[in-house]
């Protein structure tokens, strides 16, 4: 599983990678997941529906990440703009 983060002036950056089935990796991934959310990021998981459509899920905890997911994308949380 890869954790990607959108960055201004950079595009996405790989911030963590590991196999959640391996305890050591899972611990590192959980810590990174929490760190990103603490920094105000939203986490999204690209998924494919049963009908074959590409969709996305926003996840709030590491446990919400679907097991078959190969990447989680972090991006800055939404804020109202253009006032």
């Amino acid at each position: 599983m890869k954790f990607l983060r959108m960055r201004p002036g950079h595009g996405e950056q790989l911030i963590a990678e590991g196999d959640p089935e391996v305890a050591e990796d899972a611990e590192r991934l959980v810590a990174e997941f929490r760190r990103q959310l603490d920094q105000g990021m939203w986490a999204a998981v690209p998924v494919t529906s049963e009908a074959g459509r590409r969709e996305a899920e926003l996840v709030r905890t590491f446990g919400d990440i679907p097991s078959a997911t190969d990447r989680v994308i972090f991006f800055p949380r939404a804020a109202g703009g253009g006032v």
Binding site: M6, E12, A44, R54, A56, F75, P76, A78, A79, V83
Partner: protein
């Protein structure tokens, strides 16, 4: 006479400095921050190709996440249409009485909600995804990342995104005529797409059509 001119000049200079000093102060702060960041190795020297490379990476990520139809839409028209109410309970959408609605997602512009059946514009949702870590001095994501963030947020939790956005009537930031034109272009694009044989996934992708920012 000379004294009067001198006094006038001093007053003018004083007034001008009052106006320009905050700007100069901001510029100096910004410069100091950049110098400090560079000293710490956070920011590299200015690279004119950085934004372009960032956008290229963002486009690849967008393409890997959205449906082929949506990618084609963005590539050819410069925006993506996302159907609304997909993850919303039926009773929550009762205001529209089951009428399908959709959003037009532009890079770094408000999301526009409209009724595809009639073309009626409903609202503008002004939303940003500012990265306050400002790794290169800007909080602004590349265009395609901005579109992908909106797409994922609408798909993943439409109500949460809409709750965070500033709601305005159509026309606040995007010219309604332009949106109507985009809806017309989208309709024509879809008709042409249906008439075409199966899409060739290997077709090279030119940059998306651009709109001037408001």
């Amino acid at each position: 006479m000379t004294v009067a001119l001198c006094v006038t000049a001093i007053v003018v200079i004083a007034l001008l400095s009052e106006i320009t000093w905050p700007y100069v102060d901001r510029r100096l702060d910004h410069r100091r921050a950049r110098r400090e960041a560079r000293r710490l190795g956070v920011v590299g020297p200015y690279d004119p190709g950085r934004e372009r490379r960032a956008e290229q990476r963002a486009r690849e990520l967008l393409r890997s996440c959205v449906n082929d139809e949506e990618w084609g839409m963005y590539r050819d028209l410069g925006f993506i249409r996302v159907w609304g109410g997909q993850g919303v309970p039926a009773d929550a959408a009762r205001d529209l009485r089951g009428v399908p609605y959709a959003y037009l997602v532009y890079p770094h512009k408000p999301i526009v909600a409209y009724l595809p059946q009639t073309g009626q514009l409903l609202n503008e949702y002004c939303v940003e995804f500012p990265d306050e870590t400002r790794p290169f001095g800007s909080a602004r994501l590349p265009d395609s990342d901005d579109v992908l963030a909106k797409w994922m947020a609408l798909k993943g939790d439409e109500r949460r995104l809409i709750a965070e956005a500033n709601l305005h009537l159509p026309g606040r930031q995007i010219d309604p005529k332009q949106v109507q034109r985009d809806i017309w272009r989208l309709g024509r694009w879809e008709r042409e797409r249906l008439e075409r044989p199966a899409a060739d996934p290997g077709t090279p992708s030119p940059p998306p059509a651009r709109h001037d920012n408001p």
